[in-house]
């Protein structure tokens, strides 16, 4: 996975609260393989009518925000379903960082697994960023993960992120490789655990298997 260190890119406002993962990608699209690309499904039902025609009033479809790699939204972004398709839709649309006052826990984790930064800011800072981006459509934002700092216009904002997520993003770590480097510890745990918690193994005693 590519590390995330700094990002200077156009940002798009999404002045909505509780943008759940069902809205980020409606469930009916989750049958598709990732290989087909998920970008067209992003916020699909807010952006397109039943006939597939664009109906969007979202800045996301405003040409002035075209090419945005950063989204700024209101509280509880990505709450709800664990579907990683929500992150695929954002990533395939070109988004690399989301700034909001709070995020769904599973969504945050899915973001980091795919190299996207969920940056948590104070509610008042999210409102200030949204106002700035609406006033100066197409403006760029600078995000510095190491310093946990956002520069927008002539203002600087701090953001928070779980230290564990931060390390993973900065290093572009692949979880599987890291885990497999602990195979000895894994073996030791399983031997010890089998003795300590014999009841934890799924055994159908009635069938003797």
């Amino acid at each position: 996975m590519n590390p995330f260190t700094t990002l200077a890119a156009r940002a798009c406002p999404l002045p909505l609260a509780n943008v759940d993962t069902d809205q980020l990608v409606p469930a009916r699209f989750l049958k598709r393989s990732r290989a087909t690309g998920y970008g067209g499904f992003l916020l699909h039902d807010l952006r397109f009518g039943a006939d597939g025609q664009a109906k969007s009033v979202l800045p996301l479809d405003d040409p002035r925000y075209k090419g945005a790699q950063i989204l700024v939204a209101r509280r509880n972004f990505g709450g709800g379903s664990s579907r990683e398709g929500a992150v695929y839709a954002l990533a395939d649309f070109g988004i690399r960082c989301i700034i909001a006052p709070s995020f769904g826990d599973i969504f945050s984790s899915n973001c980091v697994m795919n190299g996207l930064l969920p940056a948590r800011v104070k509610e008042s800072d999210a409102e200030a960023l949204l106002a700035h981006l609406e006033q100066f459509a197409g403006a760029a934002i600078n995000v510095d993960l190491e310093a946990q700092r956002i520069v927008c216009g002539n203002r600087v904002y701090d953001f928070s992120i779980d230290s564990f997520f931060k390390t993973k993003l900065l290093n572009g770590w692949d979880d599987v490789d890291v885990t497999l480097s602990f195979s000895e510890e894994m073996q030791a745990f399983q031997s010890r655990d089998a003795a300590e918690r014999p009841w934890a193994r799924p055994i159908r005693a009635d069938r003797g298997d």
């Binding site: 989750l30 039902d45 709800g80 826990d105 899915n110 894994m186 934890a200 799924p202």
Partner: protein, 470 residues
């Protein structure tokens, strides 16, 4: 030597740590990994890496999200869905993972059917690529939903990296009123703390009202933890848990069961264990509750009125309320009990268990529904039991359809949809925009409340219809 009292969350966490790194992130061992049709994204990742499955004996798969709820003896009509159900069978078959197929008598929604098999036990870590995995916490398990990349990681390693969450305890003390249910406790809690109120936390549910809940009620409560933002919620195991588990196919047997109970009894939070946040609700103040908006936090007692955004000083909050009211087609200040509905749905991993069907049937018995509706039992076993008890007859005589088991109209991807603009009283977990179908409007409530809404055609306090009954 340990002197510090520990919570059940601490104990479950510590017993699964394989590696603890500086900074607090831990590699946790996973005791049970549950899979469904949606897991194909993860199998694709495993295939790309060319790796083996670490512990196929600890994974269990059931098709639930996409499966049809009718005509199950025939081949699946929708080719895309048929392919997904078949893909799960092939992916699990190729790796030697146990798979409960569509026509297996044990089939059901993973969070209903897996506990029925005795695969969910106290003291276990359980993960699944589904946010309602928190359901299994009802047994005193540490159970949480994960994304596809994490599913792939668990398949390849039987472990997961996690940072220990903060601990929250919700105590519900005192007896709850007749006619209220676990759903009402959960919706009341979510509306108080917000849909993001428990983010970053694991929740222990405690107090006399939680102890008094059946396993079904505890599963409903833990299921909805994610709707308060918590990845998992749990209840310490007790005699209610053990009585429910004893004799289940995969549960320990005989002397092994007794030894397991001895270990499980030690899981309860020690007196004086510390929590980052404690919340107490008075069980006696919990009343039948319904959602009016597009987030589970937008819930109120059924005798309340639709909120008025103009009374909110914070413009972002007012905008969220206005947006929800517009989508739901409501009027600020209108009585919730005047809201007319178009259909009802009874089912899902939240409220699709036998006790839920009994609660709905107790309202519907001898009555006719004014609107159409669907009852989809949470598992094939629940369906059989409902039929043995004659509940299917009550539903059918009321005019509702009694179908097969699956996620069905909760997530609307198997074809069971609420048509655009229609309003559905539903026992499910999410009233998100478009959740039950594009343009669908969902009001969440308990099974008895959904049944009452079916009978009157509008949102109704079920207690009015339960007088002299139940």
């Amino acid at each position: 030597m340990r002197s510090q009292p520990l919570s059940i969350i601490d104990k479950l966490w510590e017993s699964h740590v394989i590696v603890a790194r500086d900074g607090g992130d831990c590699l946790l061992f996973i005791d049970r990994h549950l899979l469904h049709e949606g897991s194909f994204h993860a199998f694709e990742q495993v295939r790309k890496r060319g790796r083996a499955i670490a512990r196929p004996d600890l994974s269990f798969a059931i098709a639930d999200h996409y499966v049809p709820t009718r005509a199950r003896a025939q081949p699946i009509a929708n080719p895309e869905i048929a392919r997904m159900v078949d893909l799960l069978a092939r992916n699990t078959g190729a790796h030697g993972i146990a798979h409960i197929g569509l026509n297996d008598p044990r089939q059901g929604i993973v969070h209903v059917a897996i506990p029925e098999q005795g695969l969910t036990l106290p003291g276990l870590t359980i993960v699944c690529g589904d946010s309602h995995t928190s359901t299994h916490g009802a047994f005193g398990a540490y159970a949480f939903g994960i994304g596809a990349s994490e599913v792939a990681h668990v398949l390849m390693t039987q472990a997961i990296w996690q940072k220990k969450p903060k601990c929250m305890r919700l105590r519900v003390e005192g007896a709850t009123m007749p006619g209220t249910a676990a759903k009402d406790i959960a919706l009341t809690f979510i509306s108080r703390v917000g849909a993001d109120g428990a983010q970053g936390h694991a929740i222990e549910y405690a107090g006399s009202a939680v102890r008094a809940l059946s396993m079904e009620g505890r599963m409903t409560l833990c299921n909805l933890s994610i709707e308060a933002g918590a990845r998992n919620g749990l209840v310490a195991p007790d005699q209610t848990t053990y009585d429910w588990l004893k004799g289940r196919p995969f549960a320990p047997k005989g002397e092994s069961f007794e030894r397991a109970v001895e270990a499980w009894d030690k899981l309860a939070s020690d007196p004086g264990a510390s929590f980052d946040r404690e919340i107490t609700l008075d069980g006696g103040e919990i009343v039948p509750t319904v959602t009016w908006g597009t987030s589970p936090e937008q819930a109120l007692p059924v005798d309340a009125t639709v909120p008025d955004p103009s009374t909110h000083a914070d413009p972002a909050r007012a905008a969220a309320i206005s947006d929800a009211i517009a989508y739901m087609g409501l009027t600020p200040g209108g009585k919730l009990s005047s809201i007319a509905i178009d259909r009802v749905f009874i089912g899902s991993c939240t409220n699709g268990r036998i006790e839920d069907l009994r609660a709905a049937a107790s309202v519907l018995a001898g009555r006719r529904a004014k609107v159409p509706g669907l009852v989809s039992p949470g598992s094939s076993s629940v369906k059989r039991q409902a039929e043995e008890e004659g509940l299917d007859r009550i539903f059918r005589e009321a005019g509702l359809e009694f179908a097969d088991s699956g996620c069905s109209m909760c997530v609307g991807i198997n074809g069971d949809l609420v048509p655009p603009g229609e309003r559905c009283a539903s026992t499910t977990n999410r009233n998100f925009k478009g959740r039950q179908g594009p343009g669908a409007r969902t009001h969440l409530m308990s099974p008895a409340m959904v049944a009452a809404a079916a009978v009157t055609g509008h949102l109704t306090d079920a207690r009015e219809l339960l007088e002299g009954r139940a």
